[in-house]
């Protein structure tokens, strides 16, 4: 029966042949939270979302939505969503299509409200097969909104949108979320996660590598690494350089993880002019994830199994 436990996933695993897409994911999303599932392409975000929605069966683990198995929650109208892939069906106008989907839910949003919130009002009378990519995306959003569901799941919702479309989209999403609804969205843009989520769940290589309030996660993945060759480096001295957060010394090489790599470089060179082979690694998500996972040896052992012979 329905309770107020939100989304709970325990020990999710899913493989596609030899590819271990999801390798042990635990999630706990309370009602009312706006959560970003952030990770590079191939991290396993869509696979995870599919299992949450009941579109994919996990190989192991289980999901409950408000205390119910996904299929039951879906039939109860608790779930609305916008999947990563997919277009619209034809022989209907935009308004008719949104009406059709809304009619399947117990307490849908008024169709006109879903249309205006998603920015689809201007072309609501147009046939669904005569829309631009951005317009199609807005209609897909309207289809998700009209459900007026407790849980709204959006998988890379802004991919086909231009800058203006993105802004409108997030304004609408925020408006929807203020009514106490739970939103889970997948993205590979750190900025989107940063601006619109209260909480970020970081995924890489089929695992959750970090989960916490947006500010905390951003501080972690926003780091840059300065690498250099510096024989006889003094750990204490390096740690006091401005902009540096942590210091690692591996023989003659050093790695400085920096909250501000510009400041750190300016401080490093005058004090240690002998430093050479200097590299700064950008805050690309992929690198940030790799560094985060490198800090956790237990992930590597899982990885070995994933890549070893079956």
């Amino acid at each position: 029966m329905r309770d107020n436990s939100g989304v709970i996933a325990e020990g999710l695993h899913k493989s596609f042949g030899p590819v271990k897409a999801v390798r042990g994911v635990d999630l706990n999303i309370s009602p009312g939270e706006v959560v970003a599932l952030l990770g590079p392409n191939g991290a396993g975000k869509t696979t995870t979302i599919d299992m949450i929605l009941g579109l994919g069966q996990p190989d192991a683990g289980r999901v409950t939505l408000w205390g119910m198995p996904p299929a039951e929650a879906v039939h109860a109208g608790i779930v609305g969503g916008m999947l990563q892939t997919g277009t619209l069906i034809g022989q209907l106008s935009v308004r008719e299509l949104v009406t059709m989907v809304g009619s399947l839910y117990p307490e849908p949003l008024p169709v006109e409200e879903a249309l205006s919130l998603s920015g689809a009002s201007e072309f609501a009378d147009r046939p669904t097969n005569k829309l631009s990519g951005g317009q199609t995306q807005r209609v897909r959003f309207a289809v998700a909104l009209v459900a007026n569901s407790d849980l709204l799941v959006l998988d890379e919702p802004t991919v086909a949108l231009d800058v203006e479309g993105r802004r409108d989209f997030w304004v609408a999403m925020r408006e929807f979320a203020t009514a106490g609804r739970t939103v889970l969205f997948a993205t590979h843009y750190l900025e989107e996660a940063d601006q619109f989520a209260d909480r970020i769940i970081l995924m890489a290589r089929g695992l959750i590598v970090a989960d916490g309030p947006t500010t905390e996660i951003k501080a972690k993945v926003g780091l840059r690494a300065v690498r250099a060759t510096l024989p006889g480096a003094d750990h204490g001295a390096l740690a006091t350089l401005s902009g540096v957060q942590t210091v690692e010394i591996h023989g003659d090489s050093i790695v400085l993880r920096c909250t501000n790599s510009d400041l750190a470089l300016r401080a490093l060179l005058p004090r240690f002019p002998e430093a050479r082979d200097i590299e700064v690694h950008g805050a690309g998500l992929e690198e940030a994830f790799l560094e985060l996972t490198e800090e956790r040896p237990e992930l590597d052992s899982v990885d070995d199994r994933a890549e070893g012979p079956q």
Partner: protein
């Protein structure tokens, strides 16, 4: 619970499908009028040609009506819409039932138009015989409704036209919708195992006043069960993303 708005809009979508109208309604109608117009007073297998060909064309048109819902399922699958529907409260059963319902509705339109053409070509049947023929056709269409769902999970939009058009024509041809192919013993026996044969035979039954022989019911039932099994299998397999 019947999702009435959903069903209404699905019917609207079907009616707006122009290709369906041409193949399922216009084509059999024109063919009927042209062929029967030239051979109005002949008999085939002891049946007036105008009635014989009428049942042939009804079988042809109604089969397309049912199979074309398979075409719509295939299109919805490749558009990713099926997955979108699977995260709404709409039950899978209701989704397929709606497709079958719209298939039957289109078949009914086809039947009414062709009957009218038949009457204009001099087909005379008593009301009970019209009803019996119609009833048998509707029952005979059950395996084709399931076949539509099955085909909808197997074909891609690229192969859709050839698969449906070719399959339908072949089934009609073998079933004798365009006239008897051969009177050889073996051929006749084999053909009796094909459900489209009995669809065509609905007219003959109407004329003699006897409903299908028992073998007809068995063939229709067996095909329905086999096709439901196959459709359930391919549906279960079909969770992949597009």
């Amino acid at each position: 619970m019947i999702p009435t708005t959903y069903v209404r809009l699905e019917i609207l979508r079907t009616v707006r499908n122009r290709r369906f109208f041409i193949f399922s309604l216009v084509f059999p109608l024109v063919l009927y009028l042209a062929v029967v117009g030239a051979n109005r007073h002949t008999h085939v297998e002891g049946i007036p040609f105008s009635l014989y060909y009428l049942t042939g064309m009804v079988a042809f048109g109604t089969m397309i009506a049912q199979l074309s819902s398979g075409g719509r399922i295939a299109a919805e699958r490749t558009a990713g819409w099926t997955r979108q529907m699977r995260i709404t409260p709409l039950h899978t059963r209701a989704y397929f039932a709606t497709k079958v319902l719209t298939g039957y509705m289109m078949a009914a339109i086809s039947i009414v138009l062709l009957y009218a053409a038949g009457v204009s070509m001099g087909v005379h049947l008593s009301a009970p015989k019209w009803l019996m023929m119609t009833g048998l056709i509707l029952v005979g269409l059950i395996p084709f409704a399931v076949l539509g769902i099955l085909v909808g999970h197997l074909v891609t939009p690229d192969s859709l036209g050839p698969a449906l058009g070719g399959g339908n024509t072949l089934l009609s041809l073998v079933g004798g919708a365009f006239g008897p192919l051969s009177t050889g013993r073996v051929y006749t026996d084999v053909v009796k195992c094909v459900p489209s044969y009995w669809l065509v035979q609905a007219g003959k039954s109407a004329l003699t006043g006897n409903a299908w022989p028992i073998e007809a019911w068995i063939v229709v039932a067996v095909w329905t069960v086999i096709l439901i099994r196959l459709a359930a299998f391919v549906y279960g397999r079909d969770t992949a993303r597009v």
